[in-house]
Symmetry: C3
Subunit: 240 residues, 3 copies
């Protein structure tokens, strides 16, 4: 991902990401490493500008694209790992925990589903993934608090699998993860992966409409729009 | 809770607890700390005297009140933490793990779902909460053995979140937990909490009758009543 | 289990194991310890020779016997522990994690669901048990990689409950686990166990046919049969 300044996930970037993943899959690539070409941010999460609106069509289109891109990541048959080389809040964290393996670069940046800090609610599929990664009680506490974890704490919780000194080392470790599968028959591996992930994949396929409806209705409420406005102003001040 | 000698949860105390929680919620309190005003016992669990009977109406009324009070604790929208300042077996443990955060005072007292020790069976909702707190395998072992854990072991298992030197420190840590949410928009927080807990809340609402029936039928059996009688005699001897 | 050379689980051994467990249950034994009388292998898992065939009747009979024996282990009302005194891949690991408690002898041998290494797929019930024992994310990684863990790592993951220096000590620790229940009323214990395990037991009872169909269809495919052939040749070379 290389969308300045912070890889915010808007409809365009999501579509491009989905296309790139499908191309890797169809070209029978050995695997995919998700990372950022920006120096301090892995992915700032969903683009707040896409949510700071009451235009139902725009919101629906945005959320549908997110669902489709996520399904592509989560059900990718080939190995996929994430080199987290910077901040990874909200949607950035979601995408990282939707791959198979995470290596995080040491430093000051953080990772976590911090939606409550913005006054919004992480949907069921975000939460289920979080629980299956760090356990139910830790996930509940982290979701309520909107926690963002430093690399050492993320490793301790099991939110990431390894730490690395810099991006180069993170990429190397992701490559090692992927190349391990050279010795594993790919059919058995991909069937196993899709079987393990089948419950959540099927849930999404069956609940796309309801999930969109829930998001669009909640985000359109004046209270939430006012909260997003405040947050955008806070970000603008921070940048000055 | 301040019902001598051991805060046994009978129909009366359960009703009072529920009323107090609803009052805190309606008065838009910042949060609730569940604790005991007794020196060595947090809560001895369900009152065995309420179960040592074959009177169906009494048993039904008791279990229904427990369900309702538990639902109030478990789905309370405002922050709720527990300062466990003494023994916390069975129902005492259930109530602690139904709040969001637990601080346990160091010492000789213990916590755990020890129902099998009394010859009774922890119902599904007790067990599901235990599993989501300490993990499935540890919960299974602890339930089969009726384990009671000392504070250090409870912390290690994730059954409590922090230890404290005394009750004062435990209350302070619970307050700190609650005050953290001053910076989190309350709507997003409460929707997130109820969404995370929705499966078990809905299960209870749909299965109240069946859950009562299961409890009443099992407890009325001569074998279980005989076991409770033995346990009551054991407790009486212990007190002398 | 004492079937040379490696306690491969074929239809015959599975039937004998089931009969022995039912006898222990009916004779009101205090409990069962599952172990191997072979020096270096606990159980090599499912007999590959039973799978290296396209004979539908043979495959169906084999898988049905496995299901029934597994159900007997998993739902045994009396205490059951495993003394893992050697290698315990695939089906060997499945049986160990289907008992209540595992003690593993230290050494070079390993344990794990390594099905992907053989090009086959661990079915849902294998995977669900693995997840409930070591947590969802660790189970997913281990299943994708077909990982085999040494005793120290197995202990750290929670895949086994204790280590022992030799088989004698492992048996002693399993006995201690079983004798603990002398002080627990057996009715409450067995009802608790079957309640905890009820979801997976009911799933199996309802999905026996579909589970057989899935296995038989997958194993019969030329790609899988070719993979098994390669693995058998590899094992033969290894033995020379």
């Amino acid at each position: 991902m290389a969308k300045k300044p912070v890889n915010s996930l808007n409809t365009e970037l999501l579509s491009e990401l989905k296309a790139a993943l499908l191309e890797a899959q169809n070209s029978r690539s050995k695997g995919v490493i998700l990372t950022s070409s920006l120096p301090t941010v892995f992915c700032a999460g969903l683009d707040i500008m896409e949510m700071y609106t009451t235009d139902k069509t725009k919101l629906t289109n945005f959320w549908q694209t997110l669902q489709d891109t996520w399904l592509t990541i989560y059900s990718l048959p080939i190995p996929i790992a994430t080199a987290i080389n910077g901040s990874s809040p909200a949607g950035g964290c979601l995408f990282a925990i939707s791959t198979e393996y995470r290596v995080m670069v040491e430093g000051k940046h953080t990772i976590g589903l911090n939606e409550t800090q913005l006054g919004i609610v992480a949907p069921k599929w975000f939460r289920d993934l979080y629980s299956s990664t760090i356990g139910h009680h830790q996930a509940e506490l982290a979701l309520l608090r909107g926690s963002l974890f430093k690399p050492e704490k993320a490793l301790q919780l099991g939110l990431v699998d390894e730490l690395a000194k810099d991006k180069t080392e993170a990429i190397e470790k992701c490559k090692k993860y992927i190349l391990f599968y050279d010795n594993i028959p790919s059919l058995g591996r991909s069937v196993t992966k899709l079987d393990i992930r089948n419950d959540l994949i099927q849930w999404m396929k069956k609940n796309k409409e309801a999930d969109i409806e829930k998001f669009v209705t909640y985000v359109q409420t004046p209270k939430v729009q006012a909260g997003l406005k405040l947050y955008i102003e806070y970000l603008k001040q921070k940048q000055q």
